[in-house]
C-alpha cells in the first residue's frame, strides 16, 4: 500500500448555509486576465506564480496560457475550466451566496513540484484566507 494512503486527509468541514456562502475559484489551468503577465511557458521548469482574478471579470477578459493540455475549447469558452459565468448564475438562483473577493489562477505544470507545494500553495491559501475571504473554494485543473 502506498505510504500516502496512510496519511490523514486535511479536511475542513463546511458549516453553515451554502446559499449564504461566498465561493472562490482556484484553477491550475493557466487562466489569467488578458492584461496580466502570461505564465512563463518557455521555462521548462514551470511557473510558480499565480494571478488574482477579480470577481466582476467578464469571461472575454480571460485567457489561458498553458502548454500541457489542449485548451482550444477553454479559448472559446473559459467556463469549461474556470466556471465564472455558471457560478454567477448559481448566485442569481440563490444556490450560493456570492462570489468571493478574489479568484486565483496558476499554471499547474511544474518540474518544481516541491516548491509549488511548499511555496505557491501556501501563498494561494493565504491569499484566499486573508484577501479573498472565501467561505468555500472550488478547485479545477484543466
Amino acid at each position: 500500500m502506498p505510504l500516502i494512503s496512510r496519511k490523514c486527509v486535511p479536511f475542513t468541514p463546511f458549516e453553515g448555509d451554502l446559499s449564504r456562502a461566498t465561493v472562490a475559484l482556484v484553477t491550475s489551468a493557466g487562466v489569467h486576465r488578458k492584461d496580466q503577465e502570461p505564465f512563463n511557458i518557455a521555462d521548462d521548469l514551470g511557473d510558480l506564480t499565480f494571478r488574482i482574478i477579480e470577481p466582476d471579470v467578464s469571461a472575454s477578459e480571460l485567457m489561458v496560457t498553458h502548454h500541457h493540455y489542449d485548451h482550444s475549447d477553454a479559448d472559446r469558452d473559459i467556463n469549461v475550466v474556470f466556471p465564472i459565468d455558471p457560478l454567477r448564475e448559481l448566485v442569481q438562483e440563490g444556490v450560493v451566496g456570492g462570489l468571493a473577493r478574489e479568484h486565483i489562477g496558476f499554471m499547474g505544470y511544474s518540474m518544481r513540484l516541491k516548491q509549488m507545494y511548499e511555496e505557491t500553495a501556501p501563498r494561494i491559501a493565504e491569499e484566499i484566507d486573508r484577501r479573498s475571504r472565501a467561505d468555500v473554494v472550488v478547485l479545477t485543473g484543466g
Binding site: 500516502i4 467556463n79 475550466v81 466556471p83
Partner: protein, 78 residues
C-alpha cells in the same frame, strides 16, 4: 490561519486520488480541458459546478473521488 473548505473537480481521477483530496468530483469521461463540460454547454457546466458544491453538504468522505455521469457531455460534441 483558519481552514478553508474546498472541493475539487477533477478529470484526472487517478492522479487526484493519489493526493487524497478532502472532496472531489469526477465527471465521468470528461477529458482534460473540459472540467465543466464542453464550450457553451452552460446548463451542464452549472450542473457539474452545483454537484461539486453539493459535496460540501454531504457526509465527509475524505480521499474519495465521487464519480458522476452526465449524458449531455456526449450528446453534443463540438
Amino acid at each position: 490561519m483558519r481552514g478553508i473548505p474546498t472541493v475539487l473537480i477533477t478529470v484526472s481521477p487517478e492522479a487526484s486520488r493519489q493526493m487524497r483530496p478532502p472532496r472531489a468530483l469526477y465527471p465521468k469521461g470528461f477529458k482534460i480541458g473540459h472540467s465543466l463540460g464542453r464550450p457553451f454547454q452552460r446548463e451542464l457546466q452549472k450542473r457539474v459546478l452545483r454537484d461539486a458544491l453539493a459535496l460540501l453538504l454531504e457526509p465527509p468522505r475524505p480521499g474519495e473521488i465521487i464519480e458522476r455521469t452526465y449524458p449531455e457531455y456526449e450528446m453534443n460534441p463540438s
